[in-house]
Amino acid sequence: MDIFLQQILNGLVLGSIYALIALGYTMVYGIMGLINFAHGEVVMMGAMVTITVVTSLMGAGVNLPGPILVLIGLVIAIPACALLGYTIERVAYRPLRNAPRLAPLITAIGLSIVLQQVAILIWGRNYIPFPSILSHDTVEIFGASITVLQVMIIVLCLVIMAGLLIMVEKTKLGRAMRATSQNPGVASLMGVNVNTIISSTFMLGSALGAIAGVMVATNYDQAHYYMGFLIGLKAFTAAVLGGIGNLGGAVAGGILLGIIESLGAGYIGTLTGGFLGSHYQDIFAFMVLILVLIFRPSGLLGEKMADRA
C-alpha cells in the first residue's frame, strides 16, 4: 500500500508538470489548430536559462536564500521564453498560415533542431546540474514520503493553472482568445486583433513552459539540451488525453498521465513477471496516446472530433 501511495504522489508531481506544459500545447492548438512542435525546446530553454542565472549569481557571491535565487532566475527566464515563443510563431507559423499543414510542421521541427544546437553551443552536450540550493527535506504522508520541493511544485502548478483558467474566463484577453479559437474571421470582424492574440497565446504558453522547465530541472536536479523532446511529447500526450484545445482537459490529462506513468513503472515488473522492467516507463505515454486516439479521439473532456487535425 505504501508503494502504491508513493507512486501516486510521484505521479502527481510529474503530472502537474506535464499539465503545465500541456497547457502550452493545448492553448496553441485551440487557437490555431496546429501543434507547436518546438514547445519542448522552450521548456528546455527555460530550465537552462534559470540554471545559468542562478549559478552566475552564486558565482558573483550573491548570498540569498535558494528559493529567492530561483525566483530571480525565473524572472529572467520567463520573458526570455515568452520572447522565444513569439519568435517561433513569427518565424515558423505566421508566414505559413495558409500553407499546407506539413509546411509549418517542418519549420517547427527545423526550429527545434536549431534551438537544440544553440543550446549545445551555449551549454554543451553534458547534463547541467541544478545547484543544490533548494531544500530536499521530506514530509511523510501515510507512510509515503515527498519532498517539500515537490509539494511546492504541485501547489504552484495548481495556483498557476487556476490563474490561467480565471484569466481565460474573466479577462478581456481571455475572451478575445476564446473568440479567436472559435472563429478567427468573425473575431477579427468584432475588433479582435487576431495576430496579437495568437502571439500572446504563444507567449503565455511559453511562459508556462519556462516555469515547467525549471520544475523539471529542480525535480531531477539537472537539465540537458535534449530534455525538451521527451517531456514535450509526453505533455502533448497529456493534452490529447484530456481533449486537445480544452484547458481543463490539459490539466486533468497531465495529472492522469503522470499517475499512469508512475504506477506503470512501479508495477510493470511484477505484472510481467520481471520480463519488462521500469526502464519501459517511457512507453506508457505512447501507449496511452495510441489507445486514446483509437477509442476516444476527442479526449476525456473534449467535444470536438480529432478529425480537425
Binding site: 496546429l34 501543434i35 518565424v91 515558423a92 508566414p95 505559413l96 495558409n98 500553407a99 499546407p100 499543414r101 506539413l102 509546411a103 509549418p104 510542421l105 517542418i106 519549420t107 521541427i109 527545423g110 526550429l111 527545434s112 533542431i113 536549431v114 537544440q116 544546437q117 544553440v118 549545445i120 553551443l121 523532446f229 511529447l233 502533448f236 500526450t237 490529447v240 520481471g274 520480463f275 519488462l276 522492467g277 526502464h279 519501459y280 517511457d282 512507453i283 505515454a285 505512447f286 501507449m287 496516446l289 495510441i290 486516439l293 483509437i294 479521439p297 480529432a306 478529425d307 487535425a309
Partner: protein, 361 residues
C-alpha cells in the same frame, strides 16, 4: 501523371538517349568518385542510394497517400534487425541475404500494418505524433530487449553482421581484378543501385496504377474517395505496408553494409531527415524525392569537410564544432526552404500549380 506527360513530350529517340546517358553515368560513377575523391566518398554515395530507397518508401506514405509519418525509421530498424539477427554470430544463425532481405521487408511490412491499423482514423498532426510515438516504442524495445532474454543485445547493438555473399564472392572484402583492387564499396554500389532501380520502378508503377490514383483520391478528399467506392481502410494499409517494405529492404542493406547496428542509428532525427528529403525534394514527385535524398545525404558530408577547414582558415581556430554547425545549418535550411520554396526543389507540376494557386489566393 505529370511525369508521364513530361516524358511523353520527349520523342522516343530522346528518351532512349536520356536513358543511355544516365545508365552510363551511373555505371561509371563509382570509378570517377572512387578514383578522384577516394573510397570514403563512394561510401557516401552508397549511403545516398540507401536513402533514396528509404525516401521513396516514405514518399508512398506521405507523398502519394498524404499520411504524415514521423516514425518511418522504425521500419528501417525492423529490416536491419531482422537481417542482423538472422545473419550474425549473435544467435549463430547465418542465412543468406536473398532470404534475410525479403524476410526483413516482409516483417517491416507487417509492422507497417501493425502501425496502420490503430491510426486509420487519424490525419495530419495527430498521425504525425502517433507515428513518432510508434518509432520511439520500437527504439525503446530495441534498447531494452537484452534482459532477461538477450534478443537485441541492447544499446551495444549487434556486431559482425554477415556481408552480402553472391556465390563465392563476399561483398565484405576487396575484389582483385587484373591487379586492381576494388574496395567493397564498389560492389555494394552496384548492388544498391540495382535494388534502388527496382524500388524506383515499383514506386513509378504504383503511382501510375489504379492503386496510385486511389491514393491521390484519398489524399485529396477521403470522403469523396470513399463515396466513389474506394475501400479507404485497405488502400491506407497498403500505403503503410508498401512504404514499410522499402524501408525494410533498405534496413537489411544497411545492416550488411555497416556490419554493425545499434538502436542509436534509428532515432527520431533520422525519421525527420527522411521526411525532410521528401519535402525539400518535392513531395510525391519521384525525381524530386531522389534529388532530395541525394542532396541531403551528400550536402552534410560536404559541410563536414568544409566547415572545419573554413573556420581554421578565416578565424585561425575552431569557433563552432563542425558537427554542431552542420546540424545548425540543417535546421536553418529546413526553415528557410519551407518559407521560400514550400513546394520543394523539384515539385511535380500538379503540386507546383497548387502552391501557385495558394499564393495567389
Amino acid at each position: 501523371m505529370t511525369m508521364a506527360l513530361e516524358m511523353n513530350k520527349l520523342d522516343t529517340n530522346k528518351k532512349v538517349g536520356l536513358f543511355l546517358v544516365s545508365a552510363i553515368v551511373l555505371a561509371v560513377l563509382p570509378f570517377v568518385v572512387g578514383g578522384l575523391l577516394g573510397n570514403s566518398w563512394l561510401r557516401i554515395i552508397d549511403f545516398a542510394l540507401l536513402y533514396v530507397m528509404l525516401a521513396l518508401g516514405l514518399n508512398i506514405v506521405v507523398g502519394f497517400a498524404g499520411l504524415l509519418d514521423l516514425g518511418f525509421i522504425a521500419f528501417y530498424a525492423v529490416g536491419a534487425y531482422t537481417f542482423a539477427l538472422l545473419g550474425s554470430p549473435h544467435f549463430g544463425i547465418h542465412l543468406p541475404f536473398y532470404i534475410t532481405i525479403p524476410l526483413g521487408a516482409l516483417v517491416a511490412a507487417f509492422f507497417g500494418i501493425l502501425l496502420g491499423t490503430p491510426v486509420l482514423r487519424l490525419k495530419g498532426d495527430y498521425l504525425a505524433i502517433v507515428t513518432l510515438g510508434f518509432g520511439e516504442i520500437v527504439r525503446i524495445f530495441m534498447n531494452n530487449l537484452n534482459a532477461p532474454i538477450n534478443i537485441t543485445n541492447g544499446p551495444q547493438g549487434i556486431n559482425l553482421i554477415d556481408p552480402v555473399k553472391v556465390g563465392g564472392l563476399s561483398f565484405g572484402k576487396s575484389l582483385e581484378i587484373a591487379g586492381h583492387s576494388f574496395n567493397s564499396v564498389y560492389l555494394y554500389y552496384y548492388f544498391f543501385l540495382a535494388l534502388t532501380v527496382l524500388v524506383v520502378i515499383m514506386a513509378w508503377r504504383l503511382q501510375h496504377s489504379r492503386i496510385g490514383r486511389a491514393w491521390v483520391a484519398m489524399r485529396e478528399d477521403s470522403i469523396a474517395a470513399a463515396a466513389m467506392g474506394l475501400n479507404i481502410r485497405n488502400i491506407k494499409l497498403l500505403a503503410f505496408s508498401l512504404g514499410a517494405l522499402s524501408g525494410g529492404v533498405a534496413g537489411g542493406l544497411f545492416a550488411s553494409f555497416q556490419g554493425f547496428i545499434s538502436p542509436e542509428s534509428f532515432g527520431l532525427l533520422e525519421s525527420v531527415m527522411i521526411l525532410a528529403m521528401i519535402v525539400l525534394g518535392g513531395m510525391g514527385h519521384i525525381p524530386g524525392v531522389i534529388l532530395g535524398a541525394v542532396v541531403l545525404t551528400v550536402a552534410p558530408e560536404v559541410l563536414r569537410d568544409v566547415i572545419g577547414p573554413l573556420q581554421m582558415h578565416t578565424f585561425g581556430r575552431m569557433l563552432i564544432d563542425p558537427e554542431n554547425a552542420r546540424m545548425l545549418i540543417f535546421g536553418l535550411a529546413l526553415v528557410v526552404m519551407m518559407l521560400l520554396r514550400p513546394e520543394g526543389m523539384w515539385p511535380s507540376k500538379r503540386r507546383k500549380a497548387e502552391f501557385d494557386d495558394a499564393k495567389k489566393g
